[in-house]
């Protein structure tokens, strides 16, 4: 294959190892092992909530359509990019967030309507390939319309302030991530549990034919499903933009894949699974990077995939999923 553009892993959003280590050193040798551990826990949780947000959308779509939306990360990225001009205009952070959600939701609905809906009845490979195509398309359309240079959201000074919890140092943006993520997940949970459409969505995932007999309309439900998933992705996208300070057309790719790993760990198709899986993955990645020597820690993205492969081999149904039986 002779591709024409290079992508290098490690350009994923993430504080570089050196920065993390130098921050730890700056805090002085007095920082005990316990504090370092707690710091990692805090960082891991923040990262984990981000992964959870992405994983929920993927899990929900898989639950109903039995398809893995490769383009989920790109929807995240599009939402963030559509929020950029709003940020540039000087809007407050919450407004930027709303813009991002609107952008990603719109993108998700368009993709679902134009491409996945006609392919609903196709074999799973077809949907997989189509979503690969969408992923590639979105990445490059955004690339074509903007430039390969990273974009920066307008700085929100409040979010950059450090936030101290005892010896643990975070930034306000991290707290914002936790708060917003928890709020979003709570809202989704309430929707799923206590509204009739939420119930219908859950029923559809469990037994499509029975749900249809109840009068649940599948196309409408699929749309709702994509709506929720894409909205959550948009939340994650804007949060990522604020946390790491830069966005490229490739910014969505790794979060999308890691969100998928989170969903698999928790049991794909399961909403609580995606949450738990995300947190586990965030903690795992942070601990691996934090405790391994520098030479090995660089492979952080590789480890995530190793985890994926391990989970798929050992317990493919994840923590909360049901093992799928093959009908003979």
């Amino acid at each position: 294959m002779v591709p024409l553009r290079n992508w290098t892993p490690g350009s994923s959003p993430g504080m570089t190892i050196e920065r993390e280590r130098s921050e730890a050193r700056r805090r002085g040798p007095l920082m005990s092992a316990l504090n370092e551990f707690l710091q990692h826990v805090a960082n891991g949780l923040v990262l984990g909530f981000l992964y959870a947000l992405v994983g929920i959308g993927l899990s929900m779509v898989y639950g109903i359509l039995r398809m893995i939306n490769f383009a989920h990360g790109e929807i995240l990225m599009v939402g963030a990019f559509l929020a950029l001009p709003v940020s540039a205009l000087g809007a407050p952070a919450w407004l930027v967030l709303l813009a991002g959600i609107a952008g990603s939701t719109l993108m998700g609905l368009v993709v679902q309507w134009a491409i996945y809906r006609p392919l609903l009845k196709s074999p799973e490979v077809t949907l997989l390939v189509a979503s690969l195509g969408v992923s590639l398309l979105l990445q490059n359309v955004v690339l074509m319309l903007t430039s390969p240079q990273p974009k920066r959201p307008a700085p929100a000074p409040f979010l950059d302030q450090p936030f101290r919890l005892g010896e643990i140092v975070l930034r306000n943006v991290d707290i914002a991530i936790v708060v917003v993520a928890v709020a979003a997940m709570l809202a989704t949970h309430l929707f799923l549990k206590h509204t009739r459409h939420g119930r219908a969505l859950r029923a559809l995932a469990q037994d499509m034919s029975a749900a249809r007999m109840m009068g649940v309309r599948v196309p409408f439900m699929v749309m709702i499903c994509f709506l929720i998933g894409s909205a959550l992705a948009g939340v994650a996208g804007v949060l990522i933009g604020y946390k790491y300070g830069h966005l490229t057309p490739l910014s969505g790719f790794l979060p999308g894949l890691k969100g998928f790993v989170a969903a698999v760990i928790g049991g794909i198709g399961s909403f609580p699974g995606a949450v738990v899986g995300g947190i586990i993955l965030g903690l795992l990645e942070t601990f691996l990077v934090g405790y391994l020597p520098d030479a090995l820690a660089q492979y952080r993205d590789g480890y995530v995939f190793l985890v994926l492969i391990l989970v798929l081999l050992v317990r493919p149904s994840g923590l909360f999923g049901k093992p799928e039986t093959v009908k003979v």
Binding site: R196, R199, A203, M214
Partner: protein
């Protein structure tokens, strides 16, 4: 999903909360056994109870016509009786029922009209009482 959630799902297309509550009460009155298990996960119920949930769920939509496909299949004999008693009750509530059953004798007890299907063709049709009287013929068919 819990028993209650299943029932609520049956009322998916009903928008008036009062109607839904009324239907819920009616179903629980019809099936006291599941009323006590409304918060339990439906998958953990016994076969007969699951069948009751399924029928109750269908009733939640306040249907004009209820289609039942072999509701007694695989159930213990005492539960079979219960199911047919319930069908009789539903009939009394004024709901029309289309019942497909292999258990001809019990089906004809609760039905008004009957059709006998043989490899896709209707071979006999008539009021249930008449068909019952021709039971000897039917026993020949259905053994």
């Amino acid at each position: 999903m819990t028993v209650q959630e299943n029932l609520l799902l049956g009322a998916y297309n009903v928008t008036d909360p009062a109607t839904i509550t009324a239907s819920l009460e009616r179903v629980y009155a019809l099936f006291p056994r599941i009323a006590g298990r409304r918060k339990q996960m439906a998958g953990t119920l016994s076969g007969g109870e699951q069948q009751m949930v399924a029928i109750g769920r269908a009733l939640m939509a306040a249907p004009k016509l209820l289609l039942l496909d072999e509701p007694s299949l695989g159930l213990a004999p005492n539960l079979v009786e219960l199911i047919f008693e319930t069908i009789a009750e539903i009939r009394k509530l004024g709901c029309a029922i289309m019942l497909v059953e292999q258990n001809a004798s019990m089906a004809l007890e609760v039905a008004d009209f009957g059709y006998v299907l043989e490899t896709g063709n209707v071979t006999l049709a008539g009021p249930a009482a008449e068909l019952k009287a021709r039971r000897d013929v039917i026993e020949a068919y259905l053994g």
